[in-house]
Amino acid sequence: MIVEIGHYALVLALVLTLFQATFPLWGAIRRDAALVALGPYAAIAQFLLISVSFAALTYAYLVSDFSVSNVYENSHTLKPLIYKWSGVWGNHEGSMLLWVLILALFGAGVAVFSRNLPNDLLGATLAVQAMIAAAFLAFVLFASNPFLRLGPAPFEGRDLNPILQDPGLAIHPPLLYLGYVGYSIVFSFAAGALIVGRIDAAFARMLRPWNLVAWITLTLGIAMGSYWAYYELGWGGYWFWDPVENASLMPWLTGTALLHSAIVMEKREALKIWTILLAIITFSLSLLGTFLVRSGVLTSVHAFAVDPERGLFILIILIAFIGGSFTLFAFRARAMESGGLFAPVSREGALVLNNLFLAVAALAVLVGTLYPLALEGVTGQKISVGPPFFNLTIVPLMLPLFVAIPFGQRLAWKRGDLLGVAQRMVFAMGLSLLATLVVAYHIGRGPALAIIAIGLGIFILLASLDEIRERVMRGGTAGALHRLIGLPRTFLATALAHAGVGIMVIGIAFTAFEKEAIVSMKPGETVKLGEYSLTLRGIAPYSGPNYTSTVAHFVVHDGTRQVAELRPAKRVYIGRQMPTSEVGRHRVGFSEVYVAIGETSDGNHVDLRAYWKPFVTLIWIGPVLMALAGLLSLSDRRLRVGAPRVAARRPERLEPAE
């Protein structure tokens, strides 16, 4: 019964979106406030209906209702509660329901925080958002319905893919979708602004919080996915240039570019056409990602059960929205006047440079991801484009961008003084050079590029911290704390986000210096791993709630001192008879000892892959810091949507020119 209520709520939501996609839009064009006013109610009601639907599916999972086909396919009575719950989105149908839930959440969010939006923009934005929702609700209902019943109900379910039975599943997809799908509202805003012809600085200001929310969650989602792959798959890698990973990286690259270009639009009324275009492109890339993941046209390790019919459905949605928005863009682009002029060496110029490099990087990833498809379509040859291609194209694009970051964030608006900026950074430059030399001396020989990248990372980090120091210490230590609190949060956010970039770059560069051992060991044997040694104590069986496993017991020594015990394991899940690896890790500061074992055939010895990974955790600490910086920026009172008046009344002298 509850399942049917969920199913019915979803159908109602679809009907409601059709209503929301038409009347508020008509109201926006005809300037009829009463029609527009229907939009927010519809958006909120739509969100509530999809929530009911999602809750119903969650209920079916929690009580293991195997008469629902989707639950039967992906659940098991022995599964721990957290995985019954997170298993709701651990499959294609359920994750699409989460997709539309988040889509509706953003629509409802705009509806709730709509006080300061111009009426026509609100109507058009909610209508576009409803069009997206209608397309995807139709997709869920007609091509991937999670509420289909099975009769007679099976006694036991087929269990969730064991690799997904990890707390990572509870966090990674929701965060990633919040980001991915969050760009839908950015797209809707852009399309709405094009429809009603309101493309100005005020628009950039209204777009800002939504853009930030999507960016923050996408950043965290990608970082979380990378971390999950690192500890779950037992390969010790953090990024594989897999098509599905690329699918999430592309919107991140253009979304990051958008974040920067929108600042120029907001402050200087320039780059308007480009900003609108980026908003459209970013969500288009999100849609493309959804298509690539769900259709199975590309071979990827992220395999959902693949169905060509579904792929075609999403492809049609993709073409309709990309085509529609670009047509709208082509009609309106000429009406957009370009605003303020600026010198090439200026904050605006630096932000344009940032956009250039990020957009070209996104293009490179796009080409590398789609080229195998195109080649197969044209010549029938099957190829794969792997890490060598992306290293060749992305690295040369990122290095100049990293060099530019510390300069860009210090340049003045309109006309900057590059030499002056360089002079102010002499201290940070000297210090990072010194630090790099110390690092290079300690690790000895290694690839020059990695040392350079470490140096760049340190430079970005130190230059950011130094800029905060400079602002705070201006006028001596007296009142420094007061000045720190008084700093504009957007300024602090810029510095922290860039510091996060520096930290991530250091972490990535250090992977060139990891140490690896692939060996076969008997109990009592020892393997050296840099300064550490790893001794196998024994191998023992263990039984979990829905799996059996073989656990290897290692002790880690630093010299002669025992520092840790590790228990990496090989699990075999009962439901699907599928093995997975449980990695053993010992953290030393930001570095890690990492051990994964293979299948043990005789119980006398164990095959293992062990690593010493210096500073590996920085790879994820960096993005987390970027996301925190995003939150800080979101909280800036002067730029919050509801508070423009307060900002205007603030005395000028408290706002340093940035």
């Binding site: 086909s69 039967y72 396919e73 099975l150 087929r158 893919n161 690799i163 798959l233 037992g234 390969w235 199975g296 071979t299 390790v301 992220h302 395999a303 059960a305 693949v306 169905d307 090439p344 250039l356 490099f357 070209v360 293009l363 490179a364 080409v367 590398g368 080229y371 195998p372 040859q381 099957k382 190829i383 794969s384 484009v385 792997g386 060598p388 291609f389 060749l392 194209t393 040369p396 694009l397 692939i518 060996v519 076969s520 090989k570 699907r576 599928m578 093995p579 997975t580 690896s581 994964a596 074992i597 293979g598 299948e599 055939s601 095959d607 293992l608 892959r609």
Partner: protein, 152 residues
């Protein structure tokens, strides 16, 4: 410098970045791609020794031989032909006899294939699309087997 010259310089700089990035992409697409081959194509001499490529097919039943020091020998078959593969390292969790596999590596002068990576899948039902196509070409494809989870 006049404003016009300045603008030309900026546009030139932009163009330079774009052109060099495009050149990198093209060079990458020419040199850094890896072709997928089935065992029959390898037998037909389509791959030169020393060239990196991906070999895909099914792990031949009864062919997996684990040797000390993590050396593994197995044969990859598409039903008509089979190629012997040597690999040193941990096999992915879902490596099994009779299942689809994709390995990347090179042929040596004697025609033996040494794999540098054996690719894992996240799902046991999943059949790499290339492998499915290679099997179809050889007429050994059984629909429903490894073709996604069985429909209820």
């Amino acid at each position: 410098m006049t404003r016009k010259q300045k603008r030309l310089m900026i546009l030139g700089g932009f163009g330079l970045v774009l052109v060099s990035a495009l050149a990198m992409i093209l060079v990458g697409l020419r040199d850094q791609i890896v072709f997928f081959r089935s065992p029959s194509e390898v037998m037909a001499g389509k791959v030169k020794p020393g060239e990196a490529f991906r070999l895909g097919g099914l792990v031949e039943k009864g062919s997996v031989l684990r040797e000390p020091n993590q050396m593994v020998r197995f044969r990859v078959t598409d039903g008509s032909n089979a190629i012997a593969v040597t690999y040193r390292g941990l096999l992915p969790d879902l490596f099994r006899e009779g299942q689809g596999v994709v390995t990347e590596g090179r042929l040596d002068a004697s025609g033996a294939f040494t794999a540098s990576t054996v690719l894992a899948r996240h799902d046991e039902n999943y059949m790499p699309r290339e492998v499915a196509d290679a099997l179809k070409q050889q007429g050994h494809w059984q629909p429903g087997k490894g073709d996604g989870p069985p429909k209820p």
